[in-house]
């Protein structure tokens, strides 16, 4: 039986190896951003003693007269039209409470859900009692943000055939700031798996259904592809790369020479992500 031993060693931070510096104005809480009172204050700042002071650690963004500080990592902040993947935490009277990695649990109203059979009718008392039959605590769903309440809580809807309860697959939780905004968040990768990039940082990897009409049953056949994809996503996230279909695909291809379990080792992770970075740069430039 082969055993592997690893020794801890101080590694150079990746940013040094990239050899570039940032031009952004970086602040930490307590820093004065400006003493000019003509600016409007946005997120991440507060007014104290005639000065605009930062309240989070991040980079300052200025749009005309609005100054805000964008933190490195925050919880998901809902915007109308976002696709999210969430987990049901509670079944309440006429709605479900969904955990979406945000400040407050999101809400999925019974009236925002498609009834089986696709009927459009008023939800009755029987529907309320049958709620647990549709979605239980612990189920995963994909949905779209319908509205945002004043306190920041988000209201979801699944009024389309592409949203709904998710079946067999793997969930990866990342920071929402690392998911790139695109036109579509449902991707079918050529390697045989599909991926849903939720704006809230929940990424769902599942096997591409062979035929759309066929009933999805049984167990996942191509587990290896899915585990490899999952490890690739984790390595991209550790190296703080934006997640979108191209970057995930390039990372997957760069990881093929390695074994799946080796991808999570720090030095191999760096190597794979460096290669992905280079390929993306070549593609753009």
């Amino acid at each position: 039986m082969a055993m592997e031993m690893r020794l801890p060693v101080a590694r150079k931070p990746l940013s040094e190896r990239l050899g570039r510096d940032t031009k952004k104005h970086l602040v930490v809480p307590g820093d004065t951003i400006t003493t000019d009172t003509g600016f409007m204050r946005g997120h991440g700042t507060y007014m104290g003693e005639e000065k605009l002071i930062a309240s989070v650690a991040g980079s300052v963004e200025r749009v005309n007269k609005l100054i805000c500080v964008k933190a490195l990592k925050t919880r998901y902040i809902g915007e109308v039209g976002d696709i999210v993947v969430g987990r049901i935490t509670e079944v309440q009277q006429k709605r479900w409470k969904v955990e979406t990695n945000s400040r407050l649990d999101s809400v999925l109203l019974l009236s925002s859900m498609n009834l089986p059979g696709g009927e459009l009718r008023r939800r009755s008392a029987e529907d309320e009692l049958a709620m647990r039959g549709f979605l239980q605590e612990g189920d995963l769903i994909s949905a779209e943000v319908q509205a945002v309440f004043s306190d920041g809580a988000v209201s979801l809807h699944t009024r389309s055939l592409k949203y709904g309860k998710l079946g067999q697959g793997v969930l990866v939780q990342v920071s929402p700031s690392l998911v790139k905004r695109q036109k579509t968040h449902f991707h079918d990768l050529p390697c045989g798996a599909s991926v849903i990039l939720g704006n809230n940082g929940f990424i769902w990897i599942y096997p591409t259904p062979e035929h759309k009409e066929e009933e999805a049953g049984g167990f996942i056949a191509n587990l290896e592809v899915i585990s490899r994809l999952r490890n690739c996503i984790i390595s991209l996230v550790t190296q703080r790369m934006m997640l979108y279909d191209t970057s995930i695909l390039y990372c997957y291809e760069a990881s093929l020479p390695h074994q799946i379990k080796d991808i999570l080792k720090p030095e191999i992770m760096e190597e794979i992500v460096m290669e992905t970075r280079q390929r993306l740069l070549e593609q753009e430039g």
Partner: protein, 295 residues
């Protein structure tokens, strides 16, 4: 210990430091990938780990929110979970692993009565590992000292975090002391500050803490365990450096009021020195993340 000089004639302490000198501080942010924010700090031989979850839906978490990996002894964790389930409260157990670390947490969803309508609830738990002191501790958390520390941490952070921005939500701060060599409150506060910053929760300013004592007419900053055990007066101060406001000041010993100002000033100066160091750590972390993310 007979003949132990806390302060020698030349002005050196037991470990060779000067009166106002701090111990070596090393800190790192973002040590746990699965938590919203995390940090690790070493102040001399005192080592503390802080983990922050939040802001999230106020869920009425009970006092023991987290079981740290080294506390996991299969039968004990199972017995504990059995107790919770037997009480009729729903308990969900989640495990997550990133970078080969495993963390087990117990989330107890109870009544929503604890949620505050206009601001966020700050919930702190202090726990010290059984191997953290010279003699093995039997109860890592739940005893009186841990509860008191948790309460003090909560007061400190309620003063610093801008809770008005997150109504009806809850911020959990869990601090674990891995090695206690004096100044545990200060190390916990410093670690928790870094963890809260890592989580992106808006704060008024850093919260920097340090302990101070008084020996032979001189105020000493950053006490080690030997100096604390000697029995002199000890003061713990948590400061918001930019404005100079005090978040928490704690002392449970007798000190003549003439000396108070000097000791307070020594603690404040030490806290400002800690701020310089933590500031550097945070800036470095932010800069590195910013470079990796690209423009």
């Amino acid at each position: 210990m007979a003949g132990l000089e806390l302060l020698s004639d030349q002005g050196y302490r037991v470990d060779g430091r000067r009166a106002g000198e701090l111990r070596k501080i090393q800190a790192r942010m973002g040590v746990f990938a699965q938590a919203d924010g995390s940090a690790y700090i070493e102040q001399g031989n005192t080592k503390a780990l802080a983990v922050v979850y939040g802001p999230h839906e106020a869920s009425g978490r009970a006092g023991w929110g987290i079981v740290w990996p080294w506390e996991l002894r299969g039968s004990r964790a199972e017995r504990w979970l059995g107790d919770l389930r037997g009480n009729g409260r729903r308990a969900s157990v989640y495990t997550a692993d990133a970078q080969h670390r495993i963390s087990l947490g117990v989330n107890i969803r109870g009544s929503r009565a604890r949620a505050l309508p206009d601001r966020a609830l700050v919930n702190c738990q202090y726990s010290s590992a059984t191997f953290s002191t010279g003699e093995r501790k039997r109860r890592p958390h739940g005893d009186r000292k841990s509860c008191e520390m948790g309460l003090q941490l909560r007061q400190t952070f309620e003063a610093a975090i801008l809770t008005q921005l997150h109504p009806r939500s809850q911020i959990d701060i869990y601090v674990q002391v891995l090695q206690a060599d004096g100044g545990t409150y200060a190390a916990c506060v410093n670690a928790a500050t870094l963890a809260v910053l890592d989580a992106g929760i808006p704060m008024r300013d850093f919260v920097c803490a340090c302990s101070a004592g008084f020996v032979d007419g001189t105020a000493l900053a950053d006490l080690s365990h030997v100096e604390e055990a000697a029995g002199g007066p000890q003061l713990a101060l948590a400061l918001l450096p930019a404005s100079g406001q005090i978040a928490l000041l704690e002392m449970d010993a007798r000190l003549h009021e003439d000396h108070l100002e000097r000791v307070l000033e020594a603690a404040a100066q030490a806290a400002r020195d800690v701020h310089t160091l933590l500031d550097r750590v945070v800036r470095q972390h932010v800069r590195e993340a910013s470079i990796l993310l690209g423009d």
